[in-house]
């Protein structure tokens, strides 16, 4: 469990983190979303005992980060947003070094390392030098490294940043597996949909303050209220326009330039969205595709910067 109490970090007059309060239950996955400089990495660095807070404190599994930093370190697996690797060190040796650094015996490390490499799909690269691995592989290896001492809490600072789509999917799958293993995970990202699938709770941080907290659906609804939907049709565009115009939850209906699709704002739940599609099909409207445009962080922050205080 992670408990953050009034955590503040100041650099001179600049406040990087402003009285952050947060409680993350054991076994849950908490997504921390925010732009560059919002305070995500500062929070993570303090929790990883790499940075001292100006005021406030935090507890990890009951250990105080200020008073018991050594105990905190044994509880966490930390993966920074930017990290380097040692040249001339093989993947197995890399994990072995960190295993030894956590005081794990050699015989135990010999059993553990193949399992970790398998977990992150790097068994075939065990004898490759770490510095020549691709970025995605390095990220996965770093994740394996953060798991070597079997920590209960994982602090992952943008583990999927800079990865290509395939590597992102692979990383997401591994994180889902870790979630199933019951780890408490604190993970950050710029991209809300990236966290949506795997996080139980999302927190949005802006200018050092937590501005929103809740499930992804809750936050999106509170921030935006409406979804942008695009419906692609096979002929009968006018009939579709007439149908959607009559729907109470639909607004801002527009014919798109391609001449075969419509876009509109939908203000309803997911169940109501399903009902809308069913109703359209029952009215013989030939819908080829009916999709919701994913909301990205920039859209959400557009709303936040309008001055909406949500938490």
């Amino acid at each position: 469990m992670i408990e953050i109490i009034d955590l503040t970090k100041r650099y001179g007059k600049f406040t990087a983190l402003d009285s952050l309060n947060l409680k993350i239950e054991k076994g849950s996955v908490f997504g921390f979303v925010g732009q560059n400089g919002a305070g995500k990495s500062t929070t993570f660095s303090i929790l990883a005992t790499l940075l001292s807070p100006s005021s406030g404190t935090a507890y990890i599994n009951g250990y105080n980060i200020s008073k018991e930093p050594k105990a905190v370190r044994s509880q966490i697996g930390y993966m920074p947003d930017f990290f380097g690797v040692y040249d001339q060190l093989k993947a197995v040796e890399y994990l072995d070094f960190y295993g030894a650094s956590y005081g794990i015996s050699q015989s135990e490390r010999k059993k553990l390392i193949p399992q970790l490499l398998e977990l992150v799909n790097l068994t075939h690269k065990q004898d490759s030098y770490v510095d020549v691995l691709s970025r995605g592989m390095k990220q996965r290896l770093c994740l394996a490294r953060s798991l070597i001492h079997d920590p209960e809490v994982l602090i992952l600072d943008e583990p999927a940043s800079g990865l290509d789509p395939r590597a992102r999917v692979e990383m997401r799958e591994i994180l889902k597996e870790l979630k199933n293993m019951g780890k408490t995970i604190l993970i950050s990202s710029h991209i809300l949909p990236e966290l949506a699938e795997m996080c139980d709770v999302i927190g949005i941080i802006d200018q050092g303050k937590l501005v929103a907290e809740g499930s992804v659906a809750e936050i999106q609804k509170r921030l935006q209220g409406e979804k942008l939907i695009i419906a692609k049709l096979y002929r009968e565009l006018d009939k579709a326009v007439n149908f959607f115009e009559d729907q109470p939850l639909v607004s801002q209906l527009v014919r798109r330039d391609d001449g075969e699709s419509l876009q509109f704002m939908f203000n309803g739940t997911i169940e109501e969205q399903v009902q809308l599609l069913k109703a359209a099909l029952s009215h013989d409207i030939p819908i080829v595709s009916f999709s919701e445009i994913e909301t990205n962080l920039e859209d959400v922050f557009m709303e936040i910067t309008k001055g909406v205080e949500l938490s």
Partner: protein
């Protein structure tokens, strides 16, 4: 204590340093250069001798020459090897990960210090068989060779601790390196210059029994090395110029450099990780 010196950082650094072919090449070239100097020295001496002999006093001169070359090497290389070990990890973005492990700051600092100077120690130890040529010609005892070796190891560790100190405190390697070379320069050329100035003042009779030159000699490793090679030199110097302190210079050197070493290591250990205690409220 065993864990302090046989720790994961040390094991890893040994593996990395000695795995590269560059290390092998560096060592080979160093031994080759040293051999050429010895052979050249012996060749010149025998050419200049009417009988073509190489006498024990010439052997001693050769030993002194080699000792000063090794000392120069130590003073030149140690800052370069140590001043980047912590700041370099910081620049390579590997330090944060290391600091979140269970390894103590003491273990990391000692591991880094020993591993960074280990290559230099290897060079010095590997050169011992070449040094041993002096035994063929006499003039030097095995005890003197052992003393010089011990002196080298001690000097390497002290200057290494200065490098580690700056590397821990300064974020950028280049600045840490310049600072370490600056301290090295002060403790060698700087103290020698100040010694000369204060001795001149003594000789002019402005002050009598002025102990200041003593302190400058005490801090200068090259002059202490000279003292080991020519033990009578300082006694004579001290009596003639009235440095005013009747305490062995080597012992004063040992004490002062041990204090420097301990301070440097202590601060490095304290500053490696942040103090997590909240300094101010509100």
């Amino acid at each position: 204590m065993r864990n302090l010196f046989l720790n994961p950082v040390l094991n890893k650094e040994f593996k990395l340093r000695f795995r590269s072919f560059k290390s092998f090449l560096g060592l080979s070239f160093y031994l080759l250069a040293l051999s050429i100097i010895i052979i050249g020295f012996i060749y010149i001496q025998t050419q200049n001798s009417p009988m073509g002999l190489f006498r024990p006093d010439q052997s001693k001169n050769m030993f002194m020459l080699l000792s000063f070359i090794q000392m120069g090497l130590i003073l030149f290389i140690t800052p370069g090897l140590t001043a980047g070990v912590i700041s370099g990890e910081r620049e390579k973005q590997t330090l944060n990960i290391l600091l979140t492990t269970n390894q103590s700051s003491t273990s990391i600092i000692f591991g880094k210090l020993i591993s960074s100077v280990s290559f230099l120690l290897l060079m010095i130890i590997a050169s011992m068989p070449i040094y041993s040529i002096v035994f063929l010609f006499g003039g030097i005892s095995p005890g003197q060779v052992a003393t010089i070796l011990g002196f080298y190891i001690f000097t390497i560790l002290v200057f290494g601790s200065v490098g580690i100190f700056f590397s821990t405190l300064v974020r950028r390697t280049i600045i840490a390196m310049v600072s370490t070379y600056g301290v090295t320069l002060f403790l060698t050329a700087g103290t020698a210059f100040l010694f000369t100035v204060t001795m001149s003042v003594n000789q002019m009779g402005i002050t009598t029994n002025n102990p200041v030159p003593y302190f400058f000699v005490m801090l200068n490793p090259i002059m202490i090395l000279f003292g080991f090679l020519e033990p009578d030199a300082f006694k004579e110097l001290s009596s003639q110029t009235g440095m005013g302190i009747d305490f062995p210079l080597w012992a004063a050197f040992l004490i002062s450099y041990t204090i420097i070493f301990l301070i440097m290591i202590f601060i490095s250990i304290r500053k490696l990780r942040p103090n997590m205690k909240v300094k101010s409220k509100g």
